[in-house]
Amino acid sequence: MKKQLLAAFIGLNITAVAQAATPSAEEMWEIIQQQQEQISTLKEQLSNNDSRISETEIIAEATISAVEQISLAPAASSKTTLGGYGEVHYNNLEKDDGIGDKNEVDFHRFVLFTSHQFTDSIRFFSELEVEHSIAGDGQVGEVELEQAFIEWDISANQSAKAGLFLMPIGIINETHEPNTFYGTERNNVEKYIIPATWWEAGAALNGELAQGLSYDIAAHSGLFMDDGEYKPRDGRQKVGKAKADDMAFTGRLKYTAIPGLELATSVQRQNDVRQGEGEGISGTLIETHLAWQKNDFQLRALYAAWDFDTAINDIKQGADEQTGFYIEPSYKLTDKIGVFARFSEYDNTAGSSVDSAVEQFDIGINYWLHPNVVFKMDYQDQDNNSGTGSDGFNIGVGFSY
């Protein structure tokens, strides 16, 4: 009996619970409507949040871009750039004949570069130099404009330039910042035969013929050897009211397809180094060089030879041939320290039967305090048949920026 009563009681409760848990269709519809309303509200809120997040991202992007643009602006927007280099030398040299020993310190060169980019394809470049620290009447130094030209990229692989530019000859004539070469002083072959640093006024074309094969070709002002002069170095007019009766032409082929290797040869034709005064003297310079770097080892070798009309022999016997060469192995012991040796020989009267060559052996060290700051020390042993060679050491400090 008790069991029956209990079962009836449970049954009633279940029915009551079931009736309470199962809403009617109307109640269900009401619940769905309420839930739908809540979903719509939430969706709207979510959409607003998304919109705000997206807007925040856009604002952040715009702000960052603006800040970057402002912070980049001074460097990126400057079309005019400045640079330069300089070198101080101390020479302690004794002459073999004991006459004219050299013991002096000299701020040999101080140079300022200025360039301006007119457009992506048109630019100006200049190099203004003070040599030997002080210039003026009776002073030892000079102020020189060594480069000032307009360069124009005609196409992707060809450029033209006009103005005053460096001759495309040799290794150091175009690249002579002190941190780029060994030895306190520049080598004698490029100085007395080529003669570096050498610039003229005119027009030039430069471009690539094939991958790793480039050319330079230029028409420009010529040398002028005044009465009694026969060395190319003396004939540089430096484009100062220069005589332009007869111009000169230079061409160069350069091969650089293999990393670390440069092979180049230049030819120059001087129509008349007397520039119409007296008997004409024409001349041809042939120069060829190799610069090879493999890991820490580097080798530079250069040969240059002038062939002038024999009429020049009336000024100086044997000056119709003027030749020189050097070979310079070097080795970088560390990133900062490099050692070199150089043997060179040059002769401004190689056409004579008398041995008038100047031979020089150099050995030295470069210490790069910074890739653009170098300290140099070297010893030189110079000999010639006239006994006027100079032996001794040179110390220098140079920089470029």
């Binding site: 060809q158 471009g207 690539e208 013929l209 061409g251 650089t256």
Partner: protein
């Protein structure tokens, strides 16, 4: 002034040289766009575009590598698994060189000159020059562990590429920390 046979030979030579110089060769200009570079590097997959924010410490290290002040708040890069690709710019002598660098497993997989604007040193873009960088890793001094044979007269262009290659390796290390033996990144 223009009366000798030499002058005539010169001008004929000048004309011939100009004609020979094929316009198909490009010593200067933009060689490849950024999107094309990334597409080529990760093909056929699509990498994730990411941003490295320049914190004070990162900026300081980047300035040491480049040896100049570094501006900008972020560096964009692309990544797929352990491979990242970066497009960075550095001035050679006067003009910026745009350089693409791909790093895979902390080694340089590829360096490519995307744009070259300097007057000299365009040889640096040749595949033979770029191939020298492959496999290079960063030393503790944050320099490349390989010696790169340069270009006589255009040392600055090679230095610029060296610095960018080292910087990309440094950035890659930041976004892909090397796991040390105790399981912590270093």
């Amino acid at each position: 002034m223009f009366n000798s046979a030499y002058n005539r030979i010169f001008f004929v030579g000048l004309l011939a040289t100009t004609l020979l110089a094929s316009p198909l060769l490009s010593a200067k200009g933009v060689f490849q766009s950024g999107p094309d570079f990334f597409a080529e590097v990760f093909a056929p997959h699509k990498p994730q575009s990411k941003v490295l924010w320049m914190t004070a410490d990162i900026r300081q290290q980047a300035e040491k590598i480049l040896d100049r002040p570094v501006v900008g708040l972020r560096v964009r890069y692309h990544q797929l698994d352990g491979k990242t690709a970066w497009i960075l710019e550095e001035i050679g002598k006067e003009m910026p060189i745009t350089i693409g660098v791909v790093i895979n497993q902390h080694k340089i997989a590829k360096v490519k000159i995307l744009a070259y604007r300097e007057s000299r040193g365009g040889e640096v873009r040749y595949p033979a020059y770029m191939a020298q960088y492959e496999g290079a890793v960063l030393t503790d001094q944050r320099k490349l562990d390989k010696s790169i044979d340069g270009i006589t007269g255009a040392t600055l262009s090679v230095w610029a590429v060296n610095k960018v290659a080292a910087l990309a390796l440094y950035y890659h290390g930041l976004v892909n920390p090397v796991e040390s033996t105790n399981g912590q990144s270093k």
